[in-house]
Symmetry: C2
Subunit: 542 residues, 2 copies
C-alpha cells in the first residue's frame, strides 16, 4: 500500500496543477504514515529505547528524506507547518484528554506543588534562559535581538513536552511522580503560551515596576478566567445532558455534545484571548467528574476511548510532522554558510534549558518538602532528577511558538530568524530522540522497582494499553468513590494539611449542592439498561 | 452562550483583520450552532412535521438572516461552501457509517433491485431530466447551454438525498422498504457522481455509438474497481488487526487504525479517480463483517458509536451549511432583475425531477416484481409511492455538483450560471423543507402500521436513538449468525432464487476460507476480558 502510494505520488508529482489534487495526495500520505506509525509503534513497544513519539519522529524524518530525493532537493514537506493547524486542531484534543483522564484526587492533592513547578518554575526557567541568552548571544554574530526577542526565546525554550516521559512512567507505581510530571507539564504548556502572548503584546520599551506588576496581574487574571470558563462550560454540558436526556438517552447525541462543548470551550477561550489550554483542561476535569456520569454506559466507553484515540492521533501527527518539517531545505539554506554558529546557538540553548530547569526543580522541591510532614509525600532526590529530566524534551509547543515569533511577515532580519528556527528544530529533534531514548533506561536505573512492571509488561499479557483504561477507570472511581474522608480535628489540621482539609469541604459542597444539580456518580437517577455502576467488560479484567 | 457569542461576533466583526481570527470566530459559531441543532433536534423529535435535517436547515437559514442583518446585507456566510470540504471531509464519514451499520443480509438479498433502482434508475432519471431541460429551456431567456451542460444538469438533479426519509422509516417494521430506499440512495449518490465526472471529462462533440459504449464501459469499470478497492482495504484492516493485536489489544490503536484505514480507502479511490463513495461504502461493510469482530469489546462499542456520531455531525453540518449558504446575497443579485425566470426554471426542474423519478420507480418495480415468486418480497404500490417520494429530496450532493459545474473560473456566461445556482438552492431548500415535512404524515398515511411505533415512540421510553443501536446489533448478528441456510435442492433453485443460492455458497466460502484468515464472528480466539459474544449493556435492554 505504502509503495503503491509513493509510486502514484512520484508519477503524479509533476502533473500537480490544482491545489486540491495536491492536498488529496498529501492527506493520503499523511493518513498512510499515521497507520504506519501505529503499527510500527506497536511492534516496537517492547524495545528498550524506542517509544511511539520517537518512532513517529523518525518515520517523519525518513519520509522527509524520501520526498527530498524525489523532488530533487526542492521540498521535504507535504503541508506547511501552520500554527493554526497546531493550536486550533491538534493541541485541544491532547489537552482535553489530559484533563479527562487525569487522576483527579492525586492532581488536586498535589495542586500546590504542581502550580509551583508549572507556573513559578516556568517563569524561573524562562528568566534563566533569557538572561543566559542575552549574555551569551552577544559574542556570536547572529544579528540583533531586542529585549522582546530575548524574552520570547526564553518562553519558547521554557515550554516542555513531557509526553515521552509519561509514556514511560507508571501512574500506579509512582502516583506522586506521575501526577507531578503530568500536572506540571500541562500548567507549563499553558504558562508558556500565556507568557509568550503577554510578552508579544506588551510594550517592553518602558519597562518599570508598575508595568511588571501589570504583567503579573494580567497573567493571574488570564489564569483565573481561563479556569473559570473551562469549569463553566463543563458544568453547562453536564446540566444540558442531565436535563435534556433524562430517560431518553441517545448515545450519538451525547457523544457529539460532549465533543462539541469541549471544543467550544477551547475556541471561546482563544476568541476572548484567554488560555485555551487551561480552559479545555479544566473543562475535561469537570466533564469527567459530572457529565461523564450523566450519560449512558455506551457513551461513557465511547467518549473515554474516542478522546484517548483523538489525543493519540494528534500526538502522533505532531511528531510525524515535526520530523517531516525538520528537513525543509529552505530553512537550512541561509544558515548553511556558517554551520558553526548554528551549532553554537543550539548548544548554548540546550545548556541553558538544562540549567534553567535545574534552577527551579531542586529549590522548589526543597521548598515543597519543607511544607510536608508525611515522609511518603516528600519528593526524594531521585524523583527530583526524574522531574528535572522529564522537562528537558522540547516539542511541538516550542516549534509553534518559534514559528510564530520568527517567521512572521515583516521580520527583516532574516539571518537571526533563520538561525533561531533551525536551532529550535535541532533542539526539538535532539532532545526528543536522544533524551527520549535515554528516558526508559534512566528511569529504570533511578526507580528500579519499575523493572518489575517491565518484565510483567514484556510477557505480553498486560501491555500498557490494557493498563491505561484500568488506571482511568480507577481514577474516575478514586475521586468520586472515596467518601470516607476524615473530618479535620481542629484548625491546626487545616494549617498542617491544607489541601486535605480543602478536599473535605469540597466533598461536602459537592455532595450537597453540585451533584444534585449537575449530576455525577451516584446522583443520576437509575436508567434501566444503562447501569451507572457497571464496569465495561474489558476493564474488570486485570 | 449563544447570545454572548453573537455579541462578540458583532463587536469584533469590523476589526477582523487577520484571517485566523475570522476563522476562529466562524468555527466557534459553527460549533455553537451544531450544539443548538443537537439540542433543538432532540426537543423537536416528537414533532409531527420536523426532523433533524429540517431543524438544522432552518437554524442555518435563521443564522444566515441574522448575519445578513449584522453585516448590512454584505454577507450571509461564515465559510465559503467548498466542494473540497464536502467531498473530502463531510461525505466520507456519512457513507462509511452507512456501510458499517447497514443490515447486510437484507442489503445483499435485495442487491439486484437496489442496483436496478440505484444505477439504472439514476441513468433513466438523468436522461428524462436532460431531455426535458433541453426541450423546455429553449423557450426561456437564460443564456446558451451546450449538450454537456444539459447532461450535467440531468446528473445534478438525479442525485437524491434520502436522509430525511430514512429518519422516518423503521428498519424493523419495513425491512424491505428500508433496505431498498437506503441501498438505492447510496448507489444513487455514487452513480450520479461517477456519471457527472464521466460527462465532465468526456468529449461530447463527437458523440456516437462507440463513444457511448466507451462511456458505459468506463462506468462499469469504475464501479467494479471502486468496490474491489473498498473490499481490499477492509480486508487489509481486518488482517492487520488480527495479526498484530492478538492477545495484545489496544483499544485506542484499534479505533485509530479502523478510522484511518476507512478514510484512506476513500482518499486512495479519489486519488485514482475512482468513486470514493462506493469504495468507502464497501469498506464499511467489510469492516463490520470482519474487522469489527477482531477488536476488543470496548473498541466495538467505541467504533460503532464514533462512526455514527461523526456521520450524524457531518449530516447536521451539511444541512446547517446549506441553509446558511442559501441566503448569500451575491448569488441572488444577478437574478433579482428577472425573478420570474428563476421561478420558472425552478418549477420546471422540480416537475422534471418528479417525473424522472416516476419514470423509473414504477416500471422497474414492475420488472422486479416479475422476477419474484414470494409475495412478501414483492413491492406493492404503496411502497412504490414511498420509494418514489423518498427520492424527491435534493440535498448536499446536488449542491456540490452544481457548484462544481457552474461556479468554476473561466465560465463566462454569468447569467445562465447564476440562474442554475439559485435554482439548485431553491430546489434543495424547497424539497428538504416542504417534501421533508410531508414525509412523516405521508408515510403514516400509506403505511398505517407505522402508527403503532410512533405512539410507542412518543411515550418516551424507546426513542429512535435507543432503537438504532439495537437494530445495528441485530444487523451484525443477522448476517453473521445465521448459519442454517438451506442448501438449494437443484439447479432450478439457483435459477428461481439466485441471490439465496449465492448467499449459500458465499457463507460456505466465508466460513471455510475468509474467516479463518481475516477473522470475524466466532473465528477470533477467545481473549479473556473481551468476550466476543457479550452484548453491550445498553443494547440488551429493549
Amino acid at each position: 500500500m505504502m509503495a503503491s502510494l509513493l509510486d502514484s505520488l512520484v508519477s503524479k508529482m509533476p502533473s500537480l496543477s490544482t491545489s486540491d489534487h495536491a492536498s488529496v495526495v498529501s492527506l493520503n500520505l499523511f493518513v498512510a504514515l499515521l497507520c504506519a506509525c501505529i503499527v510500527l509503534g506497536h511492534l516496537l513497544e517492547e524495545n528498550r529505547w524506542m517509544n511511539e513519539s520517537i518512532t513517529a519522529l523518525l518515520i517523519g524524518l525518513a519520509t522527509g528524506f524520501v520526498i527530498l530525493l524525489i523532488s530533487n532537493g526542492k521540498s521535504s514537506r507535504l503541508l506547511v507547518f501552520s500554527e493554526d493547524l497546531f493550536f486550533i486542531y491538534l493541541l485541544p484534543p491532547i489537552i482535553f484528554n489530559a484533563g479527562f483522564q487525569v487522576k483527579k484526587k492525586q492532581f488536586f492533592r498535589n495542586i500546590v506543588t504542581i502550580m509551583l513547578f508549572g507556573a513559578i518554575g516556568t517563569v524561573i526557567s524562562c528568566t534563566v534562559i533569557t538572561l543566559g541568552v542575552m549574555h551569551l548571544f552577544k559574542k556570536l554574530d547572529i544579528g540583533t535581538f531586542d529585549l522582546g526577542d530575548y524574552l520570547a526565546i526564553g518562553t519558547i525554550f521554557a515550554a516542555t513536552d513531557s509526553v515521552c516521559t509519561l509514556q514511560v512512567l507508571n501512574q500506579d507505581e509512582t502516583p506522586l511522580l506521575y501526577s507531578l510530571v503530568f500536572g506540571a507539564g500541562v500548567v507549563n504548556d499553558a504558562t508558556s503560551v500565556v507568557l509568550f502572548n503577554a510578552i508579544q503584546s506588551f510594550d517592553l520599551t518602558h519597562l518599570n515596576h508598575e508595568a511588571a506588576f501589570q504583567l503579573l496581574g494580567n497573567f493571574f487574571y488570564l489564569f483565573l478566567l481561563s479556569t473559570l470558563l473551562g469549569v463553566l462550560t463543563g458544568l453547562i454540558s453536564a446540566y444540558i445532558i442531565k436535563k435534556l436526556y433524562f430517560a431518553r438517552h441517545s448515545t450519538d447525541r451525547e457523544v457529539a455534545l460532549m465533543m462539541l462543548m469541549a471544543y467550544l470551550s477551547y475556541m471561546v477561550a482563544e476568541l476572548c484571548d484567554l488560555s485555551g489550554i487551561l480552559t479545555v483542561f479544566f473543562c475535561g476535569i469537570v466533564m469527567s467528574h459530572y457529565t461523564w456520569h450523566n450519560v449512558t454506559e455506551s457513551s461513557r466507553i465511547t467518549t473515554k476511548h474516542t478522546f484517548a484515540t483523538l489525543s493519540f492521533l494528534a500526538e502522533t501527527f505532531i511528531f510525524l510532522y515535526v520530523g517531516m518539517d525538520a528537513l525543509d531545505i529552505d530553512k537550512w539554506r541561509s544558515v548553511s554558510d556558517s554551520p558553526g554558529t548554528s551549532v553554537a546557538v543550539s548548544s548554548i540553548l540546550l545548556g541553558l534549558l538544562m540549567l534553567g530547569r535545574a534552577a527551579f526543580v531542586f529549590p522548589l522541591s526543597f521548598l515543597s518538602n519543607l511544607a510536608k510532614t508525611n515522609e511518603s509525600e516528600k519528593i526524594d532526590f531521585k524523583m527530583q532528577v526524574v522531574i528535572w529530566w522529564s522537562g528537558l524534551i522540547r516539542g511541538a509547543v516550542s516549534m509553534a511558538l518559534a514559528y510564530n515569533k520568527f517567521t512572521r511577515a515583516g521580520q527583516t532580519d532574516v539571518r537571526g530568524n533563520a538561525i533561531m528556527i533551525t536551532s529550535t528544530i535541532t533542539i526539538c529533534l535532539f532532545s526528543t530522540v536522544v533524551f527520549g531514548m535515554l528516558t526508559k533506561p534512566l528511569i529504570r536505573f533511578l526507580l528500579p522497582h519499575q523493572r518489575v512492571t517491565t518484565s510483567f509488561l514484556s510477557d505480553g499479557n498486560t501491555p500498557k494499553s490494557f493498563r491505561i483504561p484500568l488506571i482511568d477507570q480507577d481514577s474516575f472511581m478514586d475521586f468520586a468513590g472515596n467518601h470516607n474522608v476524615h473530618r479535620p480535628d481542629s484548625i491546626r489540621g487545616f494549617l498542617t494539611r491544607p489541601t486535605r482539609t480543602v478536599h473535605y469541604y469540597w466533598r461536602h459542597f459537592d455532595d450537597s449542592f453540585m451533584r444534585p444539580v449537575f449530576g455525577g456518580r451516584g446522583f443520576v437517577p437509575f436508567v434501566p439498561g444503562s447501569p451507572p455502576d457497571i464496569d465495561p467488560p474489558e476493564l474488570s479484567k486485570v
